[in-house]
């Protein structure tokens, strides 16, 4: 039971971004960190998996079924993408947008279960006090928390998080990633997160995938991937990695001497 990406080919206009990209299966209950330099295609890969972009060749299979064959609505029920830019300008209350994510634009009245589930999610992310506020009035970090509660309330099979903690403070980053990890294990979902803070990522992710030059340049445990000759080279920096007492890795980067 897993997500498989094989032979993926994609590009914008004439420039090719991915040329037959392969990755070994992503298992349920496992959290994977997607890393790589800017513009390498992390967001595009997420959008391909979520079906917002169509690949020119290759397949993305969930539990053996090609996701391209699913109707939009069904795909959206099993795969959820939290996009990078979470700013919303709509005059909608926080509770309303989370409920909308929960109900997935079904018409009719919201059931008591739906409402209870949204309440529970707002409590979990500690934003219950914001529930009547308009999303457009919130700070960047608060909007990101709202977006996360939209993601979690949908209860997807595959959760794609594109820089989910970029606007969050230190405590919130830890809280959110702890919660995502817990949900990933408990509900047996495939979680895939693009993260730029490599030290933080190494504490939570079971697996690292490094994208570089249109391919998966490295794939494995944090120790395998976070090495100077692998990740350091892809980013063009000198990387120093130490195991720390918290069970993660401390990653230090220096500009390499030209």
């Amino acid at each position: 039971m897993s997500l498989e990406i094989s032979g993926l080919r994609f590009g914008y206009g004439k420039s090719s971004l991915f040329d037959t990209l392969h990755a070994s299966p992503f298992r349920r209950g496992e959290m994977t960190a997607l890393i790589g330099p800017n513009g390498v295609g992390k967001s595009s890969l997420f959008r391909l998996v979520a079906g917002l972009l169509k690949p020119t060749a290759g397949t993305i299979c969930l539990d053996g079924h090609d996701t391209a064959c699913l109707p939009d609505r069904q795909r959206a029920e099993s795969i959820f993408l939290l996009t990078q830019h979470t700013a919303m300008r709509a005059a909608l209350a926080v509770f309303d947008v989370v409920l909308l994510a929960k109900r997935g634009w079904r018409g009719g009245k919201a059931s008591n279960e739906d409402i209870a589930h949204v309440e529970e999610m707002l409590d979990l992310l500690d934003i219950e006090h914001l529930s009547d506020r308009l999303v457009s009035e919130l700070s960047g970090g608060q909007q990101q928390l709202v977006a996360l509660s939209q993601a979690l309330v949908r209860d997807p099979q595959v959760l794609l998080l594109d820089e989910p903690t970029s606007a969050l403070d230190l405590r919130r980053q830890l809280e959110v990633l702890t919660l995502v990890c817990k949900v990933t294990r408990e509900r047996k979902i495939v979680t895939f997160a693009a993260l730029h803070d490599l030290s933080l990522a190494s504490r939570f992710a079971d697996r690292f995938v490094l994208l570089h030059e249109g391919k998966v340049a490295a794939d494995g445990t944090p120790e395998d991937v976070l090495r100077d000759d692998v990740t350091g080279r892809a980013y063009g920096v000198k990387l120093e990695v130490d195991r720390n007492s918290k069970g993660g890795l401390t990653v230090n980067a220096e500009l390499s001497a030209a």
Binding site: A50, L52, D72, R73, Q74, R75, A76, E77, F80, L81, L82, T83, H85, M88, R89, A90, A91, L92, A93, F95, D96, V97, L99, L100, A101, R103, G104, W105, R106, G107, I115, A116, V118, E119, L122, E128, S131, D132, L134, V135, Q150
Partner: protein, 352 residues
């Protein structure tokens, strides 16, 4: 406030929805009052009792009064409400699909196309449906307005259905039709020029029960279509990517809504000329009171548009006794102070 803070988020959500539903009810009553006032005001003075009697049982009053009420005033009053509602709905949908609160039904060149169509009919006598009779000018305006939407559709086929494509092509169409309209105006005689300008000012004087039936029929067609896409449109208000993540077919939805908007705006313009302001401000008023949840946003936009046009219709008869000013001139005059007073008086936190 203490008990509000104690209440669970879900309970507060239910209360909010209840308040919005009550607001819709209140707005309906307000609209009914606006219609009654509109029917009551006119060059010939009748007491409210006489007017109400004529409305409720036309046979019991004298024939003159019954004719004035039923054949002169009521069509104008009903037309004002229908056109206001059509423009309010079209504006709300346009603002949602373009993610831009400054958009209105005419943003994409529909009104200039309609004006050009009307001018062509008036000045050159060229009609696309020569046997149109009383609907000659209206039909021409309608065909041209709808034609611009088809051009827009064709462009989106080539360049993709993005907000940028819509707006750029819309602006191009707007200037093209304005230039061609200027060309016709320059060539036409004084009498024709006067007719063109009067047409463009917009007038409810062209109201009739046939036109009312057409407008009502169109609303009966478009409103259920839009209603079925309520939650998709609310999702779209969060942004294209957010909506797509929820499985909303963004491209198809945008084109479907554009078709609705085109029909509404083209019909409204063809029948009463270009009436600006309502399609822009109606949705803003709705956004202030009920937010962008489409279940409330669309009905309240419609009612706000209807109330403004109804009030404008009343005022157009009341300013100078015996003179009925073109509604297009009055709309902004009555709408702007009303709108500004709302903006100033409503506290920020109640904007939902």
């Amino acid at each position: 406030m203490a008990e509000v803070a104690m209440m669970r988020a879900g309970e507060r959500y239910r209360q909010r929805m209840m308040r919005k539903t009550m607001f819709v009810g209140g707005a309906l009553v307000f609209l009914a009052l606006a219609i009654c006032v509109d029917v009551g005001v006119g060059p010939a003075w009748y007491s409210p009792v006489e007017v109400m009697t004529a409305l409720l049982s036309p046979d019991s009053v004298d024939a003159r009064l019954a004719i004035i009420i039923w054949d002169v005033r009521l069509p104008v009053a009903v037309m004002a409400v229908l056109i206001g509602a059509m423009l309010g709905i079209a504006g709300a949908q346009m603002q949602t699909i373009l993610h831009n609160p400054l958009a209105d039904p005419f943003t994409l060149g529909i009104s200039s196309a309609a004006s050009f169509g009307a001018a062509l009919a008036i000045a050159v006598g060229v009609g696309l449906w020569p046997s149109g009779g009383t609907f000659f000018i209206a039909l021409n305006a309608f065909v041209f307005a709808l034609g611009t939407s088809l051009v827009l559709f064709a462009f989106t086929r080539m360049r993709g259905v993005t907000v940028e494509t819509f707006v750029l092509v819309g602006i191009a169409l707007f200037f093209t039709f304005n230039a061609m309209l200027g060309f016709i105006q320059y060539q036409s005689s004084e009498a024709q020029l006067q007719q063109i300008i009067f047409w463009m000012m917009g007038s409810l004087g062209r109201a009739s029960w046939t036109k009312i039936a057409i407008c009502a029929g169109l609303l009966a067609l478009v409103v259920p279509l839009a209603w079925a896409r309520n939650s998709m449109m609310t999702a779209l208000a969060m942004g294209d990517d957010r909506a797509a993540s929820l499985g909303v077919p963004v491209t198809r939805l945008r084109l479907e809504m554009l078709a609705c908007i085109s029909l509404l705006a083209a019909t409204a313009t063809a029948f009463v000329g270009t009436i600006g302001f309502i399609g822009l401000v109606g949705p803003h008023i709705a956004r202030m009171f009920v937010g962008e949840d489409q279940r409330y946003f669309i009905p309240v936009s419609a009612m706000a548009g209807a109330v403004i046009l109804s009030a404008a219709s009343t005022l157009s008869k009341a300013i100078t006794p015996g003179v009925i000013y073109p509604i297009g001139i009055i709309t902004a005059l009555v709408g702007v102070p009303f709108f500004l007073s709302l903006v100033l008086s409503i506290r920020r936190e109640t904007w939902r």
